[in-house]
Amino acid sequence: MMGADALAIDGTAKWIGQQAVLSVQGLSVEFGPRDSSVYAVNDVSFELAEGESLAIVGESGSGKSVTVQTLMGLIRKPPGRVTAGRALFRGRDLLAMPDSDLRQIRGRDIAMIFQDPMSSLNPVLSIGLQLTEALREHQGLNEAEAERQALDMLDLVGIANAPQRMRAFPHQFSGGQLQRIGIAMALVCKPSILIADEPTTALDVTIQAQIVELVVRLQKQLGMAIIWISHDLSLVAGFVDRVAVMYAGSIVEQAPVDELFSATTHPYTIGLLNSIPSLTAANTRLVPIKGAPPNVTLPPTFCAFAPRCDYAEVRCREQRPPLETLGAGHTTACWRWREVARLPRTPAAASSAAPAAAPKQEPLLVVSDLKVHFPIRRGVLKRQVGAVHAVDGVSFEVLRGETLALVGESGCGKSTTGRAVLGLERPSAGSVLFEGRDYAGATGDELKQRRRDMQMVFQNPFGSLNPRMTVGRIIGEGLRAQKIGTRATRDVRVSELLALVGLREALRNRYPFELSGGQRQRVGIARALAANPKFIIADEPISALDVSIQAQIVNLLDDLKARLGLTYLFIGHDLSMIRYLSDRVAVMYLGRIVEIGTTAAVFGSPLHPYTSALLSAIPVPDPKAGGTRRRIVLGGGVPDPSKPPPGCHFHPRCPMATDICTRADPQVRDFGSGVSGQHLVACHHAGDATP
């Protein structure tokens, strides 16, 4: 009655004999009209035991979210339709029951938390109402009782001042707090399964660490099973029991977490692992998966990964590989897994193509005591009553030919710094010297000249390209604006640029919506390079891209730097990527740089406690490291930049803070040596002892 056959096949060693609380068998979901279906989910089967945690990992469009939303009855029908399969929850098929029955299970037995906490809570309803409504619906509690239970749950997820906060609205919380509230909302009815759909993707790395810790603790406390959807193998490596890797709507490999990392058998899983820069082995070139994830518009009659696979043979393009069982709980869908499994783990990468020319010790850009304050105005006469100190006295140099990375959590002022350097934001104080000339607050022709030398690559390639312009016009627009060349020479230049960033000439007349995310970011890069700039500011250029595409873009940026002799200011929060591609790193916190030094020095021996915490929060793609690594999970979030804490801005969250930190601004001290170069740290306790 429980689908016992499936259990025998799929149950892992650890969970054999345990009751499966959820058993998904042969689930297929299609979207759109029948004659042009999108095959979003193809024949997906998995089991979830009581109290187990399963990760479903895949890139965007892999069908991971559709799979779980189908189970919850959350996909829209039409256009969606379930074409095959069963999903047994305690023996009852979720897909066959009437909607009113499924509604009883939703939120009570199976609950869900979502990716973006800012948008997944209703902005016009109070937190209290949103927390209690499920309790009142499913358990028929009266208002007072529901409120009491909601308060307990808020306590459990670590929201301070819960009784007052119940009357607050979502916009009055930070992202991390909102995700805690989202978790409380999901768990308030004590479900037996929690589905977490990329719950940390929209959050900062330190907040991500907090949320993961919270969910793991609550799982133990409440004894529920978890399905954790993610695009990040390294993240889930630390805390799940089992991983299912999805590609183009199918599970391609499923294994206990240790085995997935140690005995990988599917070329796609291997590709994913190779795309992640390692924290331990720096500066080996990333090995991206070639091509881009497919649009699943063809019936799944062949291996969908074959076009991107280095091991593909004729059979792969003609027949769909079955899911084979290799051992306890380890299944894989590859015709050649036996050969693939024997291959060495990291293929000999095109051995570190052209190591970047050693930076000359001549500063291209010198930023001194830069401040950007945004006024806050209030009252009848709109008098200025305060200021948001977005950037509050930042000084750094960028040497010709180097890559300086600016890292920090959202709200630390790293993007504003970049914009001020480019002149998109007017500095309130300080100077920006580019090739010896002060451009701070430049306007008109002066600014125009600077724009020729400095360009920016933006974060979101979906939003930063004008949807009404063709690729060719987008790339050539800067040339037109700067009045460089004639129409004919500009045309030639656009072709050159397309080739330079690895785009086909044919894409020139396409519109941005016709391109994939990776292609769009290439267009963004080509646009920035059009006027032959010397200096590129890249503001989180890869964070909106899929894992396998990120590596492609990073490699492209690396190549361009070497070929064109560029200098980069790279703004980002993904520390493992930053370690991989930067020469020096500056860590920002609340408008100030707290530590700056060579990448090796900052990552190797971080001296500021905030840097240490950031580094320890990076997920490592190794399940074994999870237990042994010492994690510093910072409490709270970044404070309000209009009221920065006195003394050291970091002291309220700092594990090493003492009395002096609350009173005095820390002096910047140099801990560098002749070998490591400057290593500036702004901390009273730097060097006292290892944090």
């Binding site: 959350l74 009883q104 869900m112 997944s120 016009v124 209030r378 009848v380």
Partner: protein, 318 residues
């Protein structure tokens, strides 16, 4: 919040001042004047008589003097006297404004409730027969002008079916009763409301469709709430926010519409008064009407702003 209100009210002073200039300019740019309007074929007048009447009404003074006199009166709370019957303009408007507000208020309320309800239903049934029928109905609704709708309603319900009276606010000869008054209200209010209901429906449908795609609606469904709770509490509350803007923008058009509708239905409100005043070139009444409607529209816009902050906790004025 209080300082926001104060600032808005302070800002409305120069706006109202500008309104007086424009109103005065238009009233005096019209060809002819009150004295000439009194002259008909039956009652010819001599040049001397015309000049005397103009002198009595102050029409012989330079325009800026006339304007300053008028402004001076207004600042003393006096809108002047009608050229035609010599009654105080303030009194005439005070008598007739409640009739117009009754008509407009009922029309607006009915339009909003019907329009929003149908819009939400249409959105929930997107691309189904209900949606297509309602959208078509809405299209017809916005395509029919007020006056034609009024004539149509009179023809069907008053002349053919004889269910409802075609004009006035009460049956002549009977003593005033609310039921009788409401019976008289139905047709003019419907004529004013149908067009607006169609507009509200369009916006409500678009707003609701947008809300239905929001992440928080998925969250609400994931909680296993009843469909009605999801639609009303989570959906409609958010969809109403953009509708407030439309509501605020509808009010000025209602004044325009009520002029036409009051004429068709002989509804004795300020719209009818305005038309009479235009015919008679009774400029104090014309100017009084425009000034009062301008003030009401400005107050309504302020109320719209405040309604935002009530509906949307993210909006706060300071």
């Amino acid at each position: 919040m209080l300082s926001y209100l104060l600032r808005k009210l302070l800002l409305s002073i120069p706006v109202l001042f500008g309104v007086t200039v424009i109103v005065f300019g238009i009233a005096h740019a019209m060809p002819g004047d009150a004295v000439l309007a009194m002259i008909t074929a039956e009652a010819p007048s001599s040049e001397a008589l015309i000049a005397m009447r103009r002198g009595e009404l102050g029409l012989d003074q330079p325009l800026y003097v006339q304007y300053l006199n008028w402004i001076g009166q207004i600042l003393h709370g006096n809108l002047g006297r009608s050229f035609v019957n010599g009654r105080s303009v303030g009194d005439i408007i005070g008598e007739r404004l409640p009739m117009t507000l009754e008509l407009m208020g009922v029309a607006l309320l009915v339009a909003f409730i019907i329009g929003t309800t149908l819009g939400v239903i249409s959105a929930l049934r997107q691309y189904r027969l209900t949606d297509y029928s309602l959208t078509l109905g809405g299209f017809v609704g916005v395509s029919i002008p007020d006056f034609f709708m009024g004539l149509l309603l009179v023809y069907v319900f008053a002349l053919e079916l004889r269910w409802l009276p075609s004009s006035g606010i009460s049956t002549a000869g009977d003593s005033f009763s609310l039921v009788d008054n409401l019976r008289h209200l139905i047709l003019p209010a419907a004529a004013l409301a149908l067009f607006r209901a169609a507009i509200f429906m369009r916006y409500a449908r678009a707003g609701m469709l947008e809300v239905l795609n929001q992440d928080y609606m998925r969250t609400a469904r994931a909680k296993g709430l009843r469909p009605s709770t999801i639609t009303l509490r989570h959906g409609l509350r958010n969809a109403l926010i953009p509708l407030v803007t439309v509501f605020g923008l509808t009010l000025p058009t209602l004044f325009g519409g009520s002029v036409v509708i009051e004429t068709i239905f002989q509804w004795p409100g300020i719209g009818l008064m305005f038309i009479d005043a235009v015919v008679n070139r009774d400029s104090p009444v014309i100017m009084g009407y425009v000034l009062i409607t301008a003030i009401i529209v400005m107050l309504a816009n302020l109320a719209t702003d405040l309604a935002y902050s009530v509906l949307d906790p993210r909006v706060s004025y300071d």
